[in-house]
């Protein structure tokens, strides 16, 4: 049995990941893919690097998925986050859930990705086309406006 939350340095394969949440009792499956886009705050982005604090990510990530299963009554849930360098168009994060009916699957998928983005110690560094680089949410961290 694969862990319900994990980090990956390899590209994510939605077709194989979705099989991990397949369940004969589920009538609905919802997934979310976070993609690397080519722009941010008006700047052209060349590529990204994600860095994670692995030990805490894996325990806190597993807790998020377990809480979602409990809270929304899911049959299964899996979330995987990439680390390392990523190119434009790659999948940075994949979340998939299955449940008896669709509403809880939609709600749970959104809840999980929100928690991953807000709570897990994963940082994104943008490398811009013009050659600069910056940690997202940190380049203006010393000002309150960045909150």
């Amino acid at each position: 049995m694969m862990r319900a939350f994990r980090l990956s340095t390899d590209p994510l394969e939605p077709s194989s990941l979705s099989r991990e949440v397949a369940d004969r009792s589920s009538g609905g499956f919802v997934s979310f893919e976070g993609w690397v886009r080519d722009h941010h705050e008006g700047d052209a982005v060349d590529h990204l690097e994600y860095e994670a604090y692995p030990a805490l990510c894996e325990s806190a990530g597993a807790a998020i998925v377990e809480q979602a299963v409990e809270r929304f009554g899911l049959r299964r849930a899996v979330a995987v986050h990439r680390t390392g360098p990523l190119s434009i168009g790659e999948i940075a994060v994949w979340v998939g859930v299955s449940s008896d009916h669709r509403k809880e699957a939609f709600d749970a998928c959104e809840w999980i990705i929100d928690r991953i983005k807000h709570d897990l110690p994963i940082w994104k560094k943008e490398f811009l086309v013009d050659g600069g680089s910056r940690w997202v949410r940190c380049h203006a961290c010393s000002t309150k406006a960045a909150a």
Partner: protein
């Protein structure tokens, strides 16, 4: 007593290293960040950070002990 900070993301860039040992005398995690910030001129104020001790989230009032691993967590941006 020695506690070790492990630096990630912008804090590692600003500290210029991955890990750092600190002689401690019963101070809290928050106090250690103030010391580290004085050494490395971190751009982030304490209020913008979270902290983990020995791979579990805790608060800045957490008293440090010998052998602790301390990670200060800059604002995150996964996904």
């Amino acid at each position: 007593m020695i506690a070790t900070t492990v630096w990630y993301s912008i804090l590692r860039d600003e500290a210029g290293r991955d890990e750092e040992p600190w002689e401690i005398h019963g101070e809290t995690a928050g106090h250690l960040y103030i010391r580290a910030s004085a050494r490395h001129s971190f751009s982030l104020p304490l209020e913008r950070l979270r902290v983990a001790v020995n791979d579990a989230f805790t608060d800045m009032d957490h008293p440090l002990r010998d052998g602790d691993k301390v990670v200060f967590i800059a604002p995150v941006g996964g996904g």
